[in-house]
Structure formats: structure tokens, C-alpha cells
């Protein structure tokens, strides 16, 4: 059997490639070289070259993915540290989240339709801005392809994390709270990790954004798809 399919080797490789990618980004200071993106591309290249299929990789990868759930629970800590600020701005936060959630679902569905997406792709895209477990659950509920959603969710997160702060500059989103909320709403936990790099306060509001948008998306997606003419 191919040693390159050994799960401990694949775990080690994932760690090593990520550390190298992160170091490379810090050295060069190029935002486009997002370590998640670079690691993913290098690992896929490796898998194609070494003839390791996804199921084999996932045997090792699942031990890394396992930590996603506890990591989301851990976001309760930054949230707790910002509770005072959240209470003071409850109304603006809730209105912003509702607006962002609806605008996000409607825009992704309409643009996908215009660009010729098939029905199952549209349904798989609707929940693309929220954290993977919620997004997959929503997609399954509306009849899309959950594993396609998982891939799109991660890509959206990487893209949002890389470009989000530039987009805010362009659209004049200025206050730290608005910025944190926006990136968490658009790019879930990966956006939050980018926000954490900018500042702890940004990260805390980003985790609030991903939470509220996750809840709203779970509740509203079937309803919005229905209004847009999809019988789900």
C-alpha cells in the first residue's frame, strides 16, 4: 500500500504545509496568499500527484475537522468579553443582521439564476455565507447538495476573509462594530479569523455576526426560496 496514504502522514503534511503557508504569507505580507487557500491548493496538487483520493485524505483530515465544533463553542469567550457593547447596540445589530441575511440569500439566488445555475446548484448556494454545519443542514432541508455547499462555504469564507476589509473600504463601512458584524455575516468563521487578525474587538463582533446570521439563515432560507419561486 501507498505510504503517502498513511493518515498520520497526511495529518502531519496538513500541519506542515499550513505552517509554511502562514509563514510565507507573513514574510511576504500578501493578503491573496491566504494560508487556507494555499494549503488547500498544495494538498489537492499533492493528492492528484500521489494518487491519494479524498476518502483516504479524509481519514486523517477528519481528526483536524473534528476541532471545528469545539472551536465554534470557543467563540463564546470573545462573545462574552463583548457582551456589554452588544447590549448597548442590540437594535442596530439585529436590524443589520436581518438586512444582511435577507440581502445575502436573495442576491446569491438571483445572480446564480442570471448566470445560468441549475436548480440544485441554486439551492446549494442559498446558505453559502454561514458556518458549514448550519449551511449543510439548510441545504439538505431545501433539497440541494450538502457537500457542494460545504465546498462553496469554505471558498466564500476564504474569499470574504481575503477581500472583506477592502470591500468595506470601498463601500464606506467604517465603524469597528459594523465591520466585525459584516465580515462575520458574509464569511462566517473564516472571516472571523481574518477579523481576529485585525483586532480582538472586530473578531468578537464577527463571531456575533456569524451566530445571528446562522440562526436567521436556518430560519429564513426555506421561506425566502419559496418567495423567489422555488418549491422546496
Amino acid at each position: 500500500m501507498n505510504f503517502l496514504a498513511n493518515k498520520y502522514f497526511l495529518i502531519a503534511l496538513t500541519f506542515i504545509v499550513f505552517v509554511a503557508a502562514r509563514m510565507f504569507q507573513r514574510r511576504t505580507g500578501i493578503a491573496m496568499l491566504n494560508p487556507i487557500l494555499v494549503t488547500t491548493i498544495l494538498l489537492i496538487g499533492f493528492m492528484l500527484g500521489a494518487d491519494v483520493d479524498y476518502d483516504t485524505y479524509a481519514e486523517g483530515g477528519s481528526y483536524i475537522e473534528f476541532w471545528l465544533k469545539p472551536a465554534v463553542v470557543a467563540l463564546g469567550v470573545p462573545l462574552y468579553r463583548q457582551l456589554e457593547a452588544i447590549r448597548k447596540q442590540l437594535l442596530p445589530i439585529l436590524v443589520a443582521e436581518l438586512a444582511g441575511c435577507v440581502a445575502g440569500i436573495v442576491s446569491v439566488v438571483i445572480v446564480a439564476q442570471l448566470l445560468g445555475a441549475t436548480k440544485d446548484v441554486v439551492l446549494s448556494l442559498a446558505a453559502k455565507s454561514v458556518t458549514t454545519p448550519i449551511a449543510m443542514e439548510v441545504t439538505a432541508a431545501v433539497g440541494g447538495i450538502p457537500s457542494l455547499t460545504a465546498a462553496v462555504v469554505v471558498c466564500t469564507g476564504i474569499f470574504g476573509g481575503m477581500t472583506g476589509f477592502r470591500m468595506m473600504k470601498m463601500s464606506r463601512v467604517k465603524s469597528p462594530i459594523a465591520r466585525g458584524l459584516s465580515i462575520g455575516t458574509a464569511a462566517h468563521a473564516i472571516g472571523t479569523s481574518a477579523a481576529m487578525d485585525v483586532g480582538y474587538r472586530y473578531g468578537a463582533f464577527s463571531s456575533l455576526g456569524l451566530t445571528i446570521n446562522g440562526l436567521l439563515t436556518a430560519l429564513l432560507t426555506p421561506f425566502i426560496l419559496d418567495l423567489l419561486g422555488y418549491n422546496v
Partner: protein, 120 residues
């Protein structure tokens, strides 16, 4: 660190239990996160019991997404024919969400904060 993990996984387990018991379509991790925040607020859990593991995980959140990102390899076939709508819609929608969420927050905050100067 064992205490820290005990607290963290206890909240995840409570989240799992609530999902199992009620069938609610919300991920256990989100429920665990909200309960952890509430428990810290209520002083049932002290911050020093959980802050080290939480700070470590939060700081390295991106890394744990790598296997899911690699999973895109399974959809190369579908993406080859549908990449335009998938990529186009995701990019446009990400921009829309960032602008709308940010604007809505800034506008409502200005309206509700009355005479206070809007802090940037």
C-alpha cells in the same frame, strides 16, 4: 489544559444533547457557544477555566477548515460546468452582504444614538 478542555467539551456535549432531545435544526456547536457565553455571564463558569483553550482555538480557527476545503476535489466535475454561476453569485453576494450589513448597522446606530457623536 485538561480542565479547559473539560469545560469546552461539556458545553459541546450539552449542545449535542439539546439537538438530540429536541430535534432542533441548529448545530450543537452554536448552542454550546451561546450557553458558554451565558454561563460565563452568570458566573457559573469562570473565564480562567476556559480562556486558554478558547483563545488557542479561536486564533487558529482557519486551520480546522482545511479538510473541508480539500473536499472541493469531489465536485470538480460539477464545478467545471457550473463555475460561472457558483463563483459569480458567491462574489457578488459576499459584497452585497458586507455593504448592506455595514450600512444598516451604521444607519440604525446613527438614528438611535441621538445627539451622540458617531464613534468611528
Amino acid at each position: 489544559m485538561i480542565l479547559q478542555c473539560a469545560v469546552l467539551f461539556a458545553f459541546l456535549a450539552i449542545g449535542e444533547f439539546i439537538v438530540w432531545f429536541t430535534g432542533i435544526p441548529i448545530p450543537s456547536s452554536i448552542i454550546g457557544m451561546l450557553l458558554l457565553t451565558a454561563a460565563l455571564r452568570a458566573r457559573v463558569v469562570r473565564l480562567i477555566w476556559v480562556d486558554k483553550v478558547a483563545d488557542f482555538l479561536v486564533k487558529n480557527l482557519g486551520f480546522f477548515f482545511v479538510p473541508a476545503a480539500v473536499g472541493i476535489i469531489r465536485h470538480f466535475g460539477l464545478i467545471k460546468v457550473q463555475w460561472m454561476p457558483i463563483v459569480g453569485a458567491s462574489i457578488v453576494s459576499t459584497f452585497v452582504i458586507i455593504a448592506i450589513t455595514g450600512w444598516a448597522h451604521q444607519i440604525v446606530r446613527r438614528l438611535t444614538s441621538g445627539h451622540h457623536e458617531l464613534s468611528r
